[in-house]
Amino acid sequence: MEEYTLKPGQIGDPLNRVDGRLKVTGGARYAAEYNLPGITFGVLTTSTITKGRIRAIDTKAAEKAPGVLAVVTHKNSPKVPGYNAGTDNEGSRVYGQEFRVFYDDRIYYNNQPVALVIADTLERATYAASLVSVTYNEDKHQTNIKTQTEKAIKPERPEDYARGEANAYKKAPVRIEQDYHTPIHVHNPMEPHAATAVWETNDKVIVYNKAQGVKLAQKDIMKSFDLKAENVRIHSPFVGGAFGSSSRIWPQEMAAILGAKHVGRPVKVVLKRDQVFNMVGYRPRSIQKVGLGATADGKLIGVTHEAMGLTSTYEQFTERIVHPTKSLYSSPNLNAVYKLVPLDLSTPCWTRGPGESSGSFALESAMDELAYALNMDPLTLRLKNFADKDPENDKPWSSNFLKTCYEQGAERFGWSKRNPKPRSMRAGDMLVGMGMSAGIYKAERAPASARAKLLADGSLVVQSAAADVGPGTYTIMTQIAADTMGLPVGKVRFELGDSSFPQAPPQYGSHTTASVGSAVHDVCVALKQRLQELAINKQGSALYQASADDLVFADNAIRLKGRSNGVTYTEILKLNNLPELEVTKESKSGPEKETFSTKSFCATFIEVHVHPATGMVQVKRVVSAVDAGKIMNLKTARSQVLGSTIWGIGMALMEEGVIDHRFGRYMNKDLAEYHVPVCADTPDIDVILIDKPDPIVSPTGAKGIGEIGMVGFAAAVANAVYHATGKRIRELPITPDKLV
């Protein structure tokens, strides 16, 4: 790695989170913490059947309970004009009719909201919600994709793809064909979803929620209630984890807004943990088939990936499950097919590495199986099939350091010490296994705007309607602004999470740094330009009539190169009689981006120990090498990979939302039974950041790092488990029962 020394706060510096102190002292306010004057508490009563109609709903007992203000149901709910607008799918991210809260008597999924009980305290609302009594006309439901595969449909927005000949793998000298299954994952952020709504006037609403995109939330609510942008305000400055689950408006927002309209007071709705399982999306279960065919020396000649996902009966949620397959390896022949099975469940939604995480489990497990069929090292096989350009579209990569990831990862891990024979390595009683995988994830950049305000005291405020759901956006944007402006980080305040700020894309798809970071960079460049003009055009300025080429920006000032004389930013404002200086700028990529394929890459190396008597698996070592372009902050970037790794361990070994299909209800709807890794499951994690700027994706050189670490991860663990035990587990999670 290139040696360079960083100044504190400079781009790349592992600056501590600027909002860290607020978070650990309780100073950061989350969606459920806005105790506005006159606040009331709404608790949802939910359906206990999976499909059918409400026959009768008796709210009398609840209404009479102490402290209750109202009970909102489909019978008395304020109307939502947007719900009747029909299915307008133009531009909507999910095809179909969104779930309509308190709209009619229909039940589409179990634990669906049927009433909102509003009371003066949370406890009273909770109790009264248990008094709402509902009877149903129940219809037969289906929630099990495994028994419904013949109902699979081609989605309205297909992801299918082909190059060369279909199913060419079948004719290859060496081939494998296998089925792989991944379960439902529930995002389960620590902070349960919450929304507080206030109608300021009859047609002006403020919502405090947790949102990955305040502008998106604003748009959804504008559309639902037929309101103008200035009459819908979304506040979401802090988000306690989201992972995709706050990327659209859900029942808690709608219920709070409708409840607040009904009682004429602010209403707060916080989902209970079991409601988080049903109401805010989840990663859908997948059934996949992968066929790989290669020459005897390991060149892929045919790849087939058939994937099936589940969706609700009212919407078609599609994800990028076959995307890694299209681009990761060069194979002249490739066909990918993706189908959906509509079931009586709520609509799934994007979940960290949405599609890529599940799809890569199948692809990267299959690559390992092919390596064994070829009697070839799995890393060698991957290197042999490295794609020099993106085989999906023949475009050159904007940057691709996957080979460097392989090389540095293998070196750090000690891959060469691996004896490829399954069950050949031991540590005491434990079976030792080593596995690896590759990952690919889109590196996108969306148009974004930022506003920069230089204040009279020389401090800078930068605003953009971005989100920080945990990755450290506050910190990185502060760094980019400080670095670009030549200001110490202490002089910069970055603000986000307010729909009144300049437009920013939502925080998903790992493109905040490339998009908003570019806007912050560009607005600061524009601000510098303005300052420079003011400094050289103003009589009395030490830089009056200086040549722009001779100037440098550093330490709160513009100076002549190599000289100490110059003017500070404060002086420039003062000289020009300006109380402050504000610039807003939109930033987007140029047309040249379209001529490149832009992706992040990673290679993951895993060592597991498997206890032969009990089947318990311990991930002992992780080396994750990531090419995410230029690293903005070594610490927050590394933390993103740590987070992906830990979730990857959960995905590989324990996470699964289990439904009893007879009832359509989740079995493990709490954090005691829905297992995510704890400290005892979390090993030494070695993160290698290749840290090479991408010249195309963004002016800062950043690609994206939020999700790439999960792509392929579960397969690396499964491959290591195979190496340890000789057992190939093709259905996640790899729990002890599958290994004894």
Partner: protein
Amino acid sequence: MINFRYVRPTTRQACVTALVSDPTAQFIAGGTNLIDLMKRGVTAPEKVVDINALTLRSIDKQGSGIRIGALALNSAVADHPMIRQQQPLLTQALNAGASAQIRNMATMGGNMLQRTRCHYFYDTALPCNKREPGSGCGALEGFNRIHAIFGTSDRDPKTACIAVHPSDMCVALVALDATVLVTGPNGERRIPFVDFHRLPGNTPERDTNLERGELILAIDVPDNAFARHTHYLKVRDRNSYAFALVSVAAALDLSNSTIRDARLAMGGVAHKPWRLLDAEKALVGKPATEATFRQAADIAMQGAKAFEHNAFKIRMAPSSIVEALKTAARPA
């Protein structure tokens, strides 16, 4: 959760009276199980009788054993020098349970009376004969991965129950021949630990043989010669903070490498902590070898019966027994 009255009597008698006088009343100790169940609507006491004002926290030498107060915290017991030296199996089992935070709240009595983690018991929208007698057993033909393989009630749908008792601590205590001291409306009595918990039979709503109003005062653990050779093995879906799929408490008294005496019990397999008396007998007098342990495991598994999702326990349990015995037999 319903509104409830809260009382905190200061004498044992007053606690018992407070409970007996109200048919829905329940004791509360650490609250780590009761409060969860109240929030989920699984239980709805109109009166909660807090017993924490009682002096039942001590851990003392008592005759030829140790007496542990019912309110002693799980963490305090696990860390107590006397327990660690003389009853290490209990320390191991306690530390395998829950999390450090929960063990700092959880009491001995509460741990014994914690309810099953059966999914159907926890969800009031689903049938459960334990929660609502006569409503059916959701698990019998449902998702029964964590359920019992021994001593189940599975014939009559109105009384069927295949739930397991979730405690780790109790597996050690049943192996260690503990006795439970209780007081109640009819005075004090002692209950051998093996008889404390029940099989579901046709009253799955009853977890134990405690009578209504009875209050646990203490647990007596007799001295033994096992301290050098014990092991608590817990197989679970993650490496901490998960209930046992299967667990084994093993204690051996070895002379050279001959087994002089043995204790063996399993968790996660039955409606009660599952003592393996026949397997113990098969161990005594034999050499401490893998062959001996396998034989004991075979005996232990007699009568096991699996359901749709828990057949793996029939493989996992015997290999875990062998593993636990092997580990226990290693030189201390």
